[in-house]
């Protein structure tokens, strides 16, 4: 480092999953003095618009990436001239871990998982005037995970609007609107906050169809961001499925691909009764081809990978972990089939049983605590209906502890590809004749 010299400012890593970002507005111009901690530039990442503050003092010498331009993570966006030896160079950002699409890529336009959701919302808002979308920061800000940008501007403030931070009121009002002719889509920002929605979900929304003898449904969709791996700690990373599994009258949709996210959200919005639609935060940047107006039916699983030796039954982000594990296992001569459930309530027992009949072994892979999870329900169903086909059956889930924050701790907590492959290797031999 020179005593008086130029320091490169790299595109900062402002979100865990970003690969690139767009410069919205430089708050300083060349020649301006900059102090450490002073707002320097507004940057739009895959998740949010954030202000990046100067990490070093000096004079802004040059802007390399101008307003409105996009640059990769770590690319030089500006240079600051520092004087004296006090200034430290900014640490180069580490590359962000990303989720790779494991499904076969078809030729055509690919979009991110988040954009598939936005497309479904956009198309359903246009298709049915009873549909409306609301939540905290979904409208003007476009969503804290950048899922809903532009919808407020396109469909207007009566159809897409921001609310106070009031999950009881939001969920209760969504229910009230649903039983009076509207089709609300409510975003609960993090699945952890669904605890505040539970009274309406349990005691009102999931009962109405029953109480009215099927005369009045509750066409309500709650979208919510779930899952670990984002370094959000114990109370912004949970998987709320086990809280919801016992609610009769509720559907739980849990897509793993952009195509399913779009098609299943359309199905959820068109459904006559309440659906919780789970969006795994580590899937938002996953790219894949999506359909047009195709609706993916709720309650049907898909075979994500065919195999003969063991069935891995899973959902959401864990589908991709299982596909990666299957690749690892294939190298060892173990041919794994992967079932992507896509809906967790009701479970598609038929597809799972057909797979188990073929492989005779099943591991249910759940991101969520082992005790009381949906994997136990899935295994119970398989045992009740397919015991004669089973040579082995078990669960791979997260430990019965809160989700740790520190990256090595969180990574060890989640059922990743290596752990899945290791557990299968321990219990399943490569031999495959019988």
């Amino acid at each position: 480092m020179s005593e008086t010299g130029l320091i490169d400012i790299g595109m900062p890593r402002l979100s865990d999953s970003m690969e690139e970002a767009t410069i919205l507005t430089w708050l300083k111009r060349p020649g301006d003095a900059v102090t450490r901690g002073e707002p320097l530039v507004e940057v739009e990442t895959d998740k949010a618009t954030m202000v990046y503050e100067a990490e070093t003092a000096g004079v802004l010498e040059e802007i390399v990436v101008e307003d409105g331009s996009t640059a990769d993570l770590g690319a030089v966006i500006a240079r600051i001239r520092v004087s004296g030896a006090a200034a430290a160079p900014p640490a180069p950002p580490a590359p962000a871990p990303t989720v790779e699409p494991a499904a076969t890529k078809a030729p055509g336009v690919e979009v991110e998982f988040r954009d598939a959701i936005r497309q479904a919302l956009d198309e359903e808002l246009a298709r049915d005037e009873r549909v409306f979308l609301f939540g905290e920061d979904v409208a003007a800000a476009g969503g804290v995970f950048a899922v809903t940008p532009g919808l407020h501007e396109k469909h207007g403030p009566d159809r897409v609007f921001d609310t106070p931070i009031s999950e009881l009121a939001m969920t209760g009002a969504a229910y009230g609107a649903a039983i009076t002719g509207r089709r609300p889509v409510l975003e609960i920002m993090f699945g952890d906050f669904l605890a505040l929605s539970m009274d309406t979900l349990i005691n009102q929304a999931s009962k109405y169809w029953f109480l009215t003898g099927g005369k009045q449904g509750v066409p309500l969709v709650i979208r919510s961001v779930v899952g670990g791996g984002g370094r959000f700690g114990a109370i912004h990373s949970q998987m709320p499925v086990s809280w919801l599994m016992g609610i009769t009258g509720l559907k739980i949709v849990a897509p793993a691909t952009p195509a399913d996210a779009k098609g299943l959200l359309k199905a959820a919005i068109r459904d006559e009764n309440p659906v919780v639609f789970l969006e795994h935060k580590r899937l938002y940047s996953l790219k894949g081809e999506v359909g047009g107006d195709e609706v993916v039916p709720i309650g049907r699983a898909r075979i994500a990978r065919e195999g003969s030796r063991i069935t891995l039954v899973t959902a959401m982000k864990s589908v991709h972990d299982c596909l990666e594990a299957a690749d690892l296992l294939a190298a060892d001569g173990i041919d794994a089939e992967v079932v992507d459930l896509r809906t967790l309530r009701p479970l598609d027992l038929e597809t799972v049983l057909a797979s188990v009949q073929k492989t005779n072994r099943v591991a249910v892979v759940e991101e969520g605590p082992l005790t009381g999870g949906w994997a136990g329900e899935m295994l119970a169903l398989i045992a009740e209906h397919g015991l004669g086909d089973l040579d082995d059956a078990w669960r791979i889930a997260t430990p019965d502890t809160p989700i740790p924050y520190s990256p090595p701790l969180e990574d060890a907590h989640l059922p990743g590809p290596e752990r899945i492959a290791a557990e299968v290797r321990r219990r399943v031999s490569p031999a495959s004749d019988g």
Partner: protein, 328 residues
């Protein structure tokens, strides 16, 4: 109708028939609740019930100001609201008896009756649920000229639903009337003991217009309700009402109400809404004492018929309701 010249000119003339009909509905509710109590003691009604006896003027007065597109959300003390809105009393009694001919086929029972055909979104077994449902109905009804009414008790004003939904309704200027029926007790606890600052200031802080009412006087309720509902219907935003009333019975079937101070019930009984309405009909509207008594006789005869029919109805067979709908 009494009042100044402007009010008289703006409102249609109130005649004896209007108040005779409201009196009939209040008698029907009281007689219905008396029979519910008796049937419960005979083992024909199960679980628990929460009777509306004493509060009839609130439900009947408000319901008389509502139109066919308006919606109400009630509490587990909902029999009175249902009957005020026009729910078939035989169907309601059959529901409480658990019979197939019940309003909800015996699925709901006393605390959870749903009757959308008569504008009743539901009776909510969780304190605060009615507020949320009416707030959501307000989202649907905004701009249509219809209104939603939430009924709830004094105890609800300590629930998060109350604060979140009043704020939410005001932020979006929803057409909702929040009607707090302050009957003096949240379950067994005097409201003064758990409600510092009182009730109305809690709504006023969200800038909702507030009205305090004598909930034992059906004319006072109806007169105020019509003005409030018209303002809300015209797009004036949500409003708040505290109706002071009293329940003549305990909180629920298991509560004899022994926590009441001596003489309190007697003092409130002097202002029994049926006495107040009967006096109105006789003394101000010129209805003969005989005619007023005849209304009571007719209601008794109707309830005799209803009770016999409901008790004769079969219990439901197996429920075949599909767990999930087919979607669109």
């Amino acid at each position: 109708m009494s009042g100044d010249a402007d009010t008289t000119a703006a409102a249609p003339p109130e005649d004896v028939e209007t108040y005779a009909e409201l009196y009939r509905r209040m008698l029907l509710i009281r007689g219905f609740e008396d029979r519910v109590q008796s049937l419960f003691l005979r083992g024909e009604i199960y679980g628990t019930t929460h009777l509306y006896s004493g509060q009839e003027a609130v439900a009947v007065g408000f319901a008389s100001s509502l139109g066919p597109d308006d919606r109400v959300a009630c509490t587990y003390r909902g029999h009175g609201h249902l009957l005020a809105m026009g729910t078939d009393p035989e169907g309601l009694l059959a529901e409480l008896l658990g019979r197939e001919t019940g309003v909800n086929g015996g699925r709901a029972g006393s605390m959870n009756v749903v009757d959308p055909e008569h504008g009743v979104l539901g009776c909510y077994g969780i304190v605060g649920g009615s507020i949320a449902a009416a707030t959501g109905a307000g989202l649907s009804l905004r701009g249509t000229g219809a209104v939603a009414v939430a009924y709830f008790g004094d105890g609800t004003t300590n629930q998060a639903y109350f604060f979140e939904c009043l704020n939410f309704a005001k932020v979006f200027e929803l057409p909702v009337v929040f009607v707090c029926e302050n009957n003096g007790y949240g379950e067994y606890t005097p409201f003064e003991a758990v409600t510092p600052g009182g009730i109305v200031p809690r709504a006023a802080v969200f800038e909702l217009p507030t009205t305090e009412l004598d909930g034992m006087d059906v004319r006072a309720v109806r007169t105020a309700a019509r003005e409030i509902v018209e303002r809300v219907r015209a797009g004036g935003g949500p409003e708040f009402v505290e109706a002071r009333t009293y329940r003549f019975v305990g909180h629920s079937r298991s509560d004899p109400g022994k926590y009441r101070p001596d003489g309190e019930l007697d003092r409130w009984r002097e202002r029994d809404p049926l006495l107040v309405a009967g006096a109105l009909l006789r003394d101000e509207l010129g209805m003969s004492a005989e005619s007023v008594a005849q209304v009571g006789d007719e209601v008794d005869a109707e309830l005799d018929r209803i009770e016999a029919a409901a008790l004769a109805a079969p219990f439901p067979g197996e429920i075949t309701l599909p767990e999930f709908s087919e979607g669109a």
